[in-house]
Symmetry: C2
Subunit: 349 residues, 2 copies
């Protein structure tokens, strides 16, 4: 039995979708238990209206949560028992193995840093996301790669990039079933001397490390191509890249939105074009994934999209359970322990 602490508050649709996802999961997956963290006055009536297995669901009540308009630091200071903090506390107490939230990423990072603590040797958290790729990855032929960091740590040191590479490798291995994911640094050229100083320095460390399958530098071209399984960069660039891909997905969807055109494409068996568009749309659809991991903490924390519906929440809980059952955190700990002692580095926020 694996227990998930699910922050039910803070998503765009309120507790409704989170509770519905957990209710469905309680029936579908007898190996999981979900603790619903949030306002019992709202969660109770929602549960009353749903079918669920009461042996696999419980509630941790707290009336406070971090809403979409709140500044995370202020909200956590005002109410130390906000739902995301309580979810992390359940894991810290050993009563759950992983946290899932559709609420504020910033609040999740703050709460996890305070209650769960970082993996020894990891100084910054990284948010990872999947990006659509032309090439397939891993034993299941997934049409996407992992990109991190996409916004948790805006300015990174070389040490941060190295730990992100290690964490991305461990997470991809745990979730995709690909034992040795190929990991690369994003730069402005493939040569080892290309890029800003932190990228050049991280390249030198990773080339010697041997703990992960380091494929050197990749360029912007390689993101849509999908030359590697895991692409590592700082949070500012990662955020720009991820949102650009979302924007491109929207533009392509606009181009393809004419129902007449779509229908004809299918009828004519122009499957290459149709399936290309379909694939891009599917990959852009967060619902199918089950969330983005916030890596760097001693237990898994999965951020589901704010717009998540019940199915996406249930998927996020499944991914969280998979991560909790893997030896991901220990793999990261082992690799980080082998890193050279860090020199003093110039690091931003």
């Amino acid at each position: 039995m694996t227990t998930i602490a699910l922050d039910c508050m803070g998503g765009d649709h309120g507790p409704q979708e989170a509770v519905a996802g957990a209710a469905a999961l309680s029936i579908e997956r007898p190996d999981l238990h979900t603790i619903l963290v949030g306002d019992a006055a709202q969660i109770g009536p929602l549960l009353d209206s749903m079918t669920y297995d009461p042996a696999r669901l419980s509630v941790r009540h707290t009336p406070h949560f971090v809403g979409p308009e709140d500044v995370p630091r202020e909200a956590l200071a005002a109410h130390p028992d906000v739902s995301i903090a309580e979810a992390c506390e359940l894991v810290a107490e050993g009563r759950a193995s992983a946290v899932v939230t559709a609420g504020s990423t910033g609040a999740a990072i703050l709460a996890a840093a305070r209650r769960l603590g970082r993996i020894p040797g990891v100084r910054r958290a990284a948010l990872a996301a999947v990006t659509p790729t032309e090439q397939r990855h891993g034993p299941h032929g997934d049409p996407f790669a992992l990109l991190l960091d996409v916004g948790a740590t805006l300015n990174v040191s070389s040490r941060d990039l190295v730990t992100f590479a290690i964490m991305g490798s461990a997470y991809a291995a745990a979730i995709s079933g690909n034992d040795r994911p190929r990991v690369a640094l994003l730069s402005n050229g493939t040569e080892s001397h290309k890029g800003p100083p932190e990228v050049v320095a991280a390249h030198a460390v990773l080339a010697e490390l041997g703990e992960i399958e380091f494929a050197g530098n990749v360029e912007g071209l390689d993101i849509p191509r999908g030359s590697v399984d895991v692409v590592v960069t700082g949070g500012f660039i990662g955020n720009v890249v991820l949102k650009m891909l979302e924007g491109i997905g929207e533009v392509i969807a606009d181009l393809a939105s004419d129902a007449y055109a779509r229908k004809f494409l299918w009828r004519l068996g122009l499957t290459m074009l149709s399936s290309g568009i379909k694939q891009i749309e599917a990959v852009m659809d967060w619902e199918s994934y089950g969330g983005a991991p916030i890596l760097g903490f001693c237990q898994p924390v999965i951020k589901a999209h704010g717009r998540s519906r019940s199915g996406a929440i249930a998927n996020a809980c499944k991914v969280a359970a998979k991560a909790a059952r893997s030896d991901m955190v220990r793999t990261v700990e082992r690799a980080v322990a082998r890193l050279p002692v860090p020199e003093e580095e110039e690091v931003g926020s």
Copy 2:
């Protein structure tokens, strides 16, 4: 009469395409004169095989040039008279008004910095490129926006971002005929406090400046949408973004490369899809543009793609002439003079 100094060496196709482009231009455009800079032993026989107007073409001989495999700094040190340096020298001497090259970007920046000098108050050069957009821009409805820097200055200060915004605005106005291009900073959120410190500081200065049409921050989403005319960022991110767009263009071209599918799309009048793909391909096709300006120097320097054929070289010369005839450099000088006195800033390479 506007005279262009054309570095004929260093492009992927050697002097053949540059000389052919200039020869065609000498007949097409009586208002332009081109000085072919490079090895006269190669240029002479090429001219002999072509039709051209000898009144509008001349040659500046130098046997040395920076090849694609050379390290620019070393090549310039070994032979101070490499062709790109001689082209810049012609402009410095007042014998030409703009430089065009299909050779190394790094060599062009170095040579221009030494021979032409930077616009007073501009500390770093920026390479600008066009990116395909869904929205149209300017009086001609161009389906692209300007992005800078795409690789000249990897690490930028807030002052650099501000000068890039001013230069991008002036160039877009000179070339597109759009008097008040909308200019934005690329960040990880639209709010003025979002982004790394240099972006936040640049935002504050631009919001007060009044010299350009500052539209605030845009996100990665806005690059394919094309919400603004000019997007400003540092060279590392700009390079990643530009190459990502190239990669996406290639992936889409792959999806659409089946001739059967293409033919049917056209026959069925599925123009939205077909024209969308065609538009992306057209925008990805550097030949149609005529090169990327290297901004920051006292005279225009236009970098044509290394793969440029004669048509692209001729276009680059036309763009260079347009820039040379505009008051772009004076506009930049005037705006930069109004900037607050820069504080000491922490700047990378």
